[in-house]
């Protein structure tokens, strides 16, 4: 892993994305990830973002971005328009998660999903012993003031993918400063998955 201050989740995504590919970042925020992908991988980048001020910051970075709602922004694209559709820290905030993910899988050849793990041990401890809705570095919100609509664990997501016949092609689990390889559903704060609808052989 690089030690240049690049966010750990960005480093994973940077490793996975093929040079020169077409990338759509759903909920691209200030465009930091897209800017990195353009600079390091020469991708053709497009963002979708609902926050007007974030749009200004994306444009200042030279990115192309649509000011739009995630629940609406995808349907207008044709099948497999992008090599990758990225939902990094956005999935848990999408109103119609199932629909959005199916749409992302339709529009992208592959989809990269990153989200906080609700089953991290510190969340379990807070809920079990203290009886509070957990607050962790990856889930920093009070229950009454959170943008998150879905609270899922890494295990929930893998089960969901099985149920929907979605292939998990790669996965990475993140701790605060390093990768987690042992018991990720207990020890990882967040997970990133590369998924697709394709029926290609596993373990590629």
């Amino acid at each position: 892993m690089r030690s240049d201050g690049t966010r750990l989740d960005f480093q994973i995504i940077l490793q996975w994305v093929q040079p020169g590919s077409a990338v759509l970042d759903l909920g691209c925020g200030d465009g930091d990830l897209l800017e990195l992908l353009v600079r390091e991988k020469g991708v053709k980048a497009q963002g979708i973002e609902i926050n007007e001020q974030a749009i200004y910051r994306c444009v200042a970075k030279g990115l192309s971005v649509f000011h739009d709602d995630l629940d609406r922004g995808l349907s207008e694209y044709g099948d497999k328009t992008f090599d990758y559709v990225i939902l990094n820290q956005t999935l848990q905030q999408v109103r119609k998660l199932d629909e959005a993910l199916q749409e992302a899988l339709r529009v992208g050849r592959e989809v990269i999903v990153g989200f906080p793990n609700f089953a991290h041990w510190s969340a379990r401890v807070q809920l079990f012993f203290r009886g509070h809705t957990p607050i962790t570095p990856a889930l920093p919100y009070e229950w009454h003031d959170t943008p998150n609509l879905h609270f899922l664990s890494l295990l929930d997501f893998t089960h969901y993918c099985q149920k929907r016949h979605i292939q998990i092609r790669r996965a990475a689990f993140l701790g605060e400063k390093r990768m987690i390889r042992f018991r990720p559903n207990l020890l990882a704060q967040a997970g990133i998955f590369l998924i697709s609808h394709d029926q290609r052989p596993k373990g590629e």
Partner: protein
């Protein structure tokens, strides 16, 4: 480190979900130090001399055609830093700077000049009056060479594509092979779209603001009220009023309707009150400042605009259909251009939904597009008033277009005499 990053991104999203404030937190632009252009002059170019008249969309031919235009900044050696700016319904070639002896600058002076959105230290900006207009370009008030009298209604019906073709002749005349950008709001946005589908080989990018690919029945309806007001004025006289009393009442009413559609409910409520001591303009007046405002705008307009031009130009706008009956995405298919599309939340004359239709087609056609819906309470007028946001977006967009083109921008420019 990593997860703190995640948290801050999520907080940003959280904020956007809950409230939308108008407090601008635009990133600082170190080089933003706008100055005004000094004195500018309108120039003229005449072409399509008979028998080589220009063929119009209608099949009729028109010539000679004189074009009034202004330029700001300097064309670089490669002739690659030219931007064509397109005006709205009542605009003209005087987009920026001051005419000799005048105190009011051009109509988009806030956006064009040294250090401004269309930075004349970097770019060569061109603006011309549209065909059918009354500010120096050939229109119904121009002299018909066949009769020696003003054209009046003998002036042929024109369309947005005809206006754009005239602009293309001007660009040819200026010796510019490829424009860096074609930009405009409202009717100017329609023209920028028309450039994009008809003359894409002559440009790198387009900026379309508060516009539509085609007028809706509601938009046509407001124009039709204006046209009927003009034609109902006895002085209109079938368009034959030059040298006599002008159809000022009718044109003023048309302009009043227009101004209503340019504002929003909120901007009107902020701007106008009832007169405190109940003064009224006439027996049936409500004594509200909005009435005085509309009268003032209407009366001011008749001094500077020709009623027949109003009829011809509104007809051109209302008849325009970018798609020509095709799927809009088909019209954009294969365009290797960059597009910046802007709309304003409170604009109900050209609502953001119409710009989103354009953006949707760009998306489907794979055109590299950026879209921003800017928070504003000014209604359609916002495109002339919300300077800070547009400046930020346009400056960065143009910088990217010129960087990727690999010329313009930073290179040294030399003065180019036309």
């Amino acid at each position: 480190m990593a997860l703190l990053g995640l948290a801050s991104k999520a907080t940003e999203k959280n904020r956007s979900l809950l409230t939308k404030t108008h407090t601008s937190t635009l990133p600082p632009s170190p080089s933003y130090n706008p100055k005004r252009l000094g004195k500018v002059q309108t120039q003229f170019f005449t072409f399509a001399h008979p028998p080589e008249e220009m063929a119009l969309e209608s099949g009729e031919r028109l010539g000679p055609i004189r074009v009034a235009y202004e330029t700001y900044g300097t064309l670089n050696e490669e002739r690659s830093n030219a931007i064509l700016v397109l005006h709205a319904l009542s605009g003209d070639a005087h987009a920026a700077g001051f005419h000799e002896g005048e105190t009011k600058p051009g109509w988009w002076d806030d956006m064009i000049g040294p250090g401004k959105a269309f930075d004349t230290d970097r770019y060569f900006v061109i603006c011309s009056n549209v065909l059918g207009g009354c500010k120096g370009t050939t229109g119904p008030s121009s002299i018909n060479p066949k009769t020696g009298k003003p054209y009046g209604l003998d002036f042929p019906v024109i369309g947005i594509p005809d206006m754009v073709r005239v602009q293309k002749y001007l660009v040819d005349h200026l010796g510019i092979e490829r424009l860096l950008c074609v930009a405009g709001g409202s009717m100017g946005g329609m023209q920028a779209l028309e450039w994009l589908v008809s003359h894409s080989d002559r440009m790198e990018s387009a900026i379309v603001i508060s516009t539509a690919a085609k007028h809706s029945p509601q938009q046509i309806a407001f124009h039709e009220v204006g046209r009927q007001a003009i034609m109902a004025d006895p002085h209109w006289n079938g368009g034959n009023y030059y040298g006599c009393a002008l159809p000022s009442k009718g044109l003023a009413v048309a302009r009043m309707v227009g101004h209503i559609t340019y504002m929003s409910d909120v901007s009107m409520a902020q701007k106008f009150r009832r007169h405190p001591n109940g003064e009224r303009l006439h027996k049936f007046s409500a004594g509200c400042e909005v009435e005085d405002y509309l009268h003032a705008r209407g009366n001011h307009f008749v001094k500077r605009f020709d009623a027949n031009s109003y009829l011809y130009i509104t007809r051109a706008i209302d008849s325009y259909d970018l798609s020509r009956g095709r799927d809009l995405a088909e019209a954009f298919r294969g365009l290797q251009k960059k597009v910046l599309a802007l709309a304003f939340k409170s604009d109900w004359l050209y609502p953001p939904s119409q710009t989103r239709e354009i953006v949707k087609a760009c998306k489907q056609a794979g055109v590299d597009t950026t879209y921003c819906e800017i928070e504003s309470t000014y209604g359609h007028d916002a495109f002339l008033l919300e300077i800070e946001e547009q400046t930020h977006l346009i400056r960065h967009f143009l910088k990217r277009v010129s960087d990727e083109r690999g010329s313009a921008g930073e290179r040294e420019v030399r003065h180019y005499e036309i």
